[in-house]
């Protein structure tokens, strides 16, 4: 293939950035979910959760 | 409103920073560039208008970030926000005062710089004219940044980053109008008219957006 470096470079870079963004978003979500779980465990209940419990 | 204009002019002469700093910065830029391009006078005169325009653009940034921050810090902004006079008008007048205090001196000084840069008379005249018409647009765009800076603890570089990209169209048409006047073959008027249109456009958009930002940042 002619110009293989440029073609694969372009695809490679695009894949790299897309993967990095995906991973970052996913890891961020996981961290947030963990924090929420920790808060839940420490006894601070969500208000909405409390009201739905009440119902 | 004239009262506001006069007060801001007075302040820019008395308070720190000072109106002269823009002109001096401008001079510094023009003093340094020849060292970059070397003694090639033809080249110097060719890029002259561009350098003058870039200098004016950068010089306008100095002090712009404090345009509304200073008002917030002493509580004046609160009173301005409360008035019946439309906030847009207040912002417009403050922009005008800032322009008169910092950019107008540059416009007036630009022939001097043109001589330094070995520019022809036409080039000098064209530069001066385009600067006169185009530099208010820079101030108006900058006002948006300044209004945003009110929400920031301190202004500094961030404001310039937000503002500079928006000024690019002004720069493009300002410089190309100048070149059109000097070299041809393209006519001078179309880019010059676009420059005027840009200034008018930002004279509306800038104060409106700045007023919007100010309304939304007060606390």
């Amino acid at each position: 293939m002619t110009h293989a470096f440029y073609v694969y470079g372009a695809y490679g870079f695009a894949a790299l950035v897309a993967a990095a963004v995906t991973l970052w978003t996913w890891a961020d979500g996981r961290a947030r979910r963990k924090e929420l779980a920790a808060l839940e465990a420490s006894g601070i209940r969500r208000r909405s959760a409390r009201t739905t419990d009440g119902k | 409103m004239t009262a506001l204009l006069l007060r801001d002019l007075k302040l820019s002469i008395r308070a720190g920073g000072g109106a002269l700093i823009g002109v001096l910065f401008f001079l510094t830029i023009v003093a340094v560039i020849p060292f970059g391009v070397g003694p090639d006078l033809a080249l110097l005169s060719r890029i002259g208008p561009a350098i003058v325009w870039i200098g004016a653009l950068l010089a306008a940034l100095l002090g712009l970030d404090r345009l509304f921050q200073a008002e917030r810090d002493d509580g004046s902004l609160d009173l301005m926000l409360m008035q019946e006079t439309p906030l847009v008008l207040t912002v417009l007048v403050k922009c005008l005062a800032h322009w008169v205090a910092t950019s107008l001196p540059l416009v007036i000084a630009s022939p001097l710089l043109g001589l330094f840069m070995n520019m022809s008379e036409t080039a000098i005249g064209a530069t001066m004219l385009t600067l006169l018409v185009g530099s208010p647009a820079i101030t108006f765009i900058g006002a948006v940044g300044a209004a945003v800076a009110v929400a920031l603890p301190r202004g500094g570089l961030l404001v310039s980053i937000l503002v500079l990209p928006l000024t690019i169209p002004v720069l493009i048409f300002g410089v190309s109008a100048t070149y059109a006047a000097v070299e041809g073959p393209s006519p001078f008027l179309p880019p010059f008219l676009i420059l005027m249109a840009l200034t008018l456009f930002f004279a509306v958009i800038g104060p409106v957006a700045a007023a919007l930002a100010l309304r939304h940042t007060s606390d």
């Binding site: 995906t22 978003t25 | 606390d219």
Partner: protein, 253 residues
């Protein structure tokens, strides 16, 4: 609960963050699957179709470059729409949407810049020229970064959102500049051949993979955007609950 009086009733299902989360949980797996499928098909097509007689194999770069460039602009458009939501309806979800789109838009802009650069070297013989199209995309990238920085510099999130919204809207002037730069200034860059008023002027051989990749990129963007919005909602929930906890603790103490 605050009556965030939303003018558009159609959106009112999304108006409530809790409902948004429920919806996101339902559709995210499907969107992720769809994205993956599109990428598989798109990548297959882009490596099996023929090369261009003029551009050779490098034409394959188009299948990532062009969608990424479109998404870079679309990301900003989404931010602008969210900004309108923030300023007009003061809708908290619009704040979150604008904030979440910025890093994604920046990432896609970066892809467009770098792949364009990688295409430019063989086609124009240089990595970078300061032509209008390229520079305006570069400016878009800087604007994304500036907005991210601005958002981080203001720590009251709703204030940050409102301030950013104003700037986002002012910065929207750059989008038409990007789009029409090739027509307004004669530059090295290709002029529009797909998104034209008179229909695409491009060989279907190239159009097919391009469109599939475009759909794949869009799906990826939307998936990530929804995920990022969800993360941001969670982040604010955590902050709100932390504050509540601190307040309760100090009241007991």
């Amino acid at each position: 609960m605050s009556e965030t009086s939303l003018a558009i009733t159609k959106f009112s299902d999304l108006a409530n963050p809790t409902r948004f989360l429920a919806l996101a949980a339902r559709i995210l797996p499907w969107m992720a699957g769809f994205t993956a499928l599109c990428f598989i098909v798109g990548l297959y097509l882009s490596f099996t179709t023929e090369g261009d007689y003029q551009q050779g194999e490098t034409v394959r770069i188009m299948y990532v470059h062009v969608p990424a460039a479109w998404l870079a602009m679309m990301g900003y458009t989404i931010m602008s729409l969210s900004a309108v939501g923030t300023l007009v309806w003061r809708h908290p979800l619009a704040d979150v949407s604008a904030k979440a789109a910025a890093p994604l838009g920046a990432a896609f802009t970066l892809i467009a810049l770098v792949t364009g650069s990688l295409w430019g070297k063989p086609m124009w013989g240089t990595w970078w020229v300061w032509d209008a199209r390229l520079t305006s995309v570069f400016v878009l990238f800087l604007m994304y970064l500036g907005l991210i920085a601005l958002n981080r510099a203001i720590d009251d999130p709703s204030k940050a959102a409102r301030v950013s919204a104003v700037l986002i809207l002012v910065g929207f002037v750059n989008i038409p500049i990007i789009k029409f730069s090739v027509e307004w200034w004669n530059t090295l860059h290709q002029s529009a051949s797909v998104l034209r008023l008179d229909g695409p002027a491009i060989d279907p051989e190239f159009l097919r993979p391009l469109l599939v990749m475009a759909v794949a990129f869009t799906a990826l963007f939307l998936t990530l955007h929804i995920m990022a919005i969800r993360n941001e909602i969670w982040r604010r929930r955590v902050a709100a609950q932390r504050r509540l906890a601190a307040r309760l603790a100090s009241r007991e103490g």
